[in-house]
Amino acid sequence: MFLIECPYCGERDQREFSYGGEAHIARPENSDDLSDAEWADYVFMRTNTKGVFAERWVHAAGCRKWFNVLRNTASDTFLAVYGVGEQPPEIFGQDLATPSGEPVIGSGNDATKVIPGEEG
């Protein structure tokens, strides 16, 4: 289970938090001018990244404040915590070898894992 660093309360167990989905989805200010397809893009379409992903969490059983997180969805590595309204920091060294690939260590998916030293 995740240990999540709440920016206000410190490191707490995943159970204290609720998930808020993809971060940085801004509601369009000109919704009246949008086509159905453009509105559908805002309401429904999602980035759903495999790799470094910006998402929202809320400390529901604690301070009840929202914050943003960068997590690698292919390995569950928490990379950064930052405030609502802030921009995410740049992250290096988390790229996947191929689009559907796994990081070398840390993923539960053995289908395409390469163990260090066995790269061949």
């Binding site: 995943q14 159970r15 998930y19 159905d36 969805t73 689009p99 559907s100 539960g108 395409t112």
Partner: protein, 416 residues
């Protein structure tokens, strides 16, 4: 590949089982195909089979980045039912039910289809009203469905506690008698064997890394085993659909979440049906090896790791023990996870895309296994004809702009 029969079994038994041949050709990729399917799971292999069998398209390939059936096809809890609410859903899930009934014979492969019934329990009046509504909707659509009161639930499945003890007592249930379970690996292997016999190339350990297109039309793909030219590409990659779609700059309305499942230690036969509760959230059946196969809802966070948090396991076991107290001392043998691609209306996406020749089948979320034959069948029609058939037509990407959603969260019966 010889036909399987009791004679082939006897003959091979006398020869020490040395004569069995591989069930499908482990093919090497050719340079050109008439169509390529990305994803060698249940839906991908079924699509290839129906493309070859019903549409005469057999110069085709399945590309699978791992081993066939290694994704969600190998990780689900195998529940088969077609008791969804809306007409569009009843059509596709019940088409699957009709195909399931004869699939083992058609594929000459024992898929261990067991029509042992599926119970959806009701624990309070509002839920009972909704479930009764679904029974009537099912019957209007020719889907078998019955309402049982608490006493009838107890007669059908004696281990369920219908007393006043539980916080949310069982007050009734829907029963689909033709529902049940089957063996997930066997279905994948059966479709793969059938497709391979018809000439389809099954290519494993082959990951797609890019899509080649020109002037708005598909030209081919880049893979870890070389470049392939083809005019038609069909993605059936479930949780990885957004990864594939990104290769053609297409955004999808899906989110990929872990879905966990588990089995208990094997015990003597005690549960001869499928028990599902939406409110006290867990579902349970018993395998032929005697293990209880247990599942419940997704992990709330997005993830591609095929594992989730233990809080989910704890909650679903608490629910199961609340429903069936005699299970309280069983030990768990194994837990695992998959990657489910959830659509906003809990209904599938079987669709053309803005790129000509690129087709996508995804969004089945937590409920794709039961639809496997019908999903493959509808997808094959779309790929071969470049237009959906009547069953596939409601499930295009256009519905998210038009608003014509097929809202099936209730009947999906899995916590999202």
């Amino acid at each position: 590949m010889a036909k399987y029969s009791v004679w082939s079994l006897l003959r091979e038994g006398l020869r020490g089982h040395t004569g069995w041949r591989p069930a499908w050709r482990d093919a090497a990729p050719k340079e050109v195909y008439d169509a390529v399917i990305i994803g060698g799971g249940g839906h991908g292999c079924a699509t290839a089979y129906y493309l070859a069998k019903e549409h005469g398209l057999n110069n085709i390939a399945i590309l699978e980045k791992g081993w066939i059936g290694g994704g969600n096809a190998g990780r689900n809890t195998t529940i088969i039912r077609s008791n969804y609410l809306y007409d569009e859903s009843a059509a596709i899930y019940d088409h699957a039910m009709q195909l399931w009934k004869g699939l083992g014979r058609e594929l000459n492969f024992n898929v261990m289809m067991s029509h042992r019934g599926v119970l959806n329990l009701a624990h309070e009046d509002h839920e009972a009203r909704q479930l009764k509504r679904r029974v009537e909707a099912n019957r209007l659509n020719g889907v078998d469905a019955e309402w049982l009161d608490a006493k009838e639930v107890k007669e059908f499945c004696p281990i369920i506690d219908i007393s006043d003890r539980p916080r949310y007592p069982v007050i009734g249930a829907t029963l689909q008698r033709s529902g049940g379970v089957n063996r997930h690996d066997a279905v994948v292997w059966g479709y793969a064997r059938g497709a391979s016999r018809l000439g389809v190339d099954i290519i494993q350990n082959c990951e797609v890394t890019g899509i080649i297109h020109e002037a708005g039309a598909v030209r081919g793909l880049q893979t870890t085993r070389g470049e392939i030219r083809t005019p038609k590409i069909a993605s059936a990659t479930a949780g990885h659909s957004s990864v594939i779609a990104r290769m053609i700059d297409l955004r999808l309305p899906i989110e990929s979440h872990p879905l966990q499942a588990l089995v208990s230690e094997p015990i003597k036969p005690i549960n001869d049906t499928v028990i599902m509760s939406s409110l006290v959230h867990a579902y349970c059946s018993q395998s032929d090896k005697g293990e209880l196969v247990i599942g419940a809802g997704i992990d709330a966070h997005l993830g591609y790791t095929q594992r989730g948090g233990f809080n989910i396991i704890e909650e679903e076991l608490a629910s199961l023990v609340e429903l069936i107290p005699i299970f309280s001392r069983l030990r768990l043998m194994r837990t695992w996870g998959g990657i489910v691609d959830l659509a906003p209306d809990a209904s599938a996406i079987i669709s053309k895309t803005p790129l000509k020749g690129f087709y996508i089948n995804c969004g089945w979320g937590t409920g794709g296994w039961k639809a496997t034959p019908a999903s493959g069948h509808a997808f094959a029609h779309l790929i071969a004809n470049d237009e959906p058939n009547e069953i596939g037509a409601p499930f295009t990407l256009e519905r998210f702009a038009s608003g014509k959603l097929v809202a099936e969260h209730g009947a999906a019966a899995v916590a999202h």
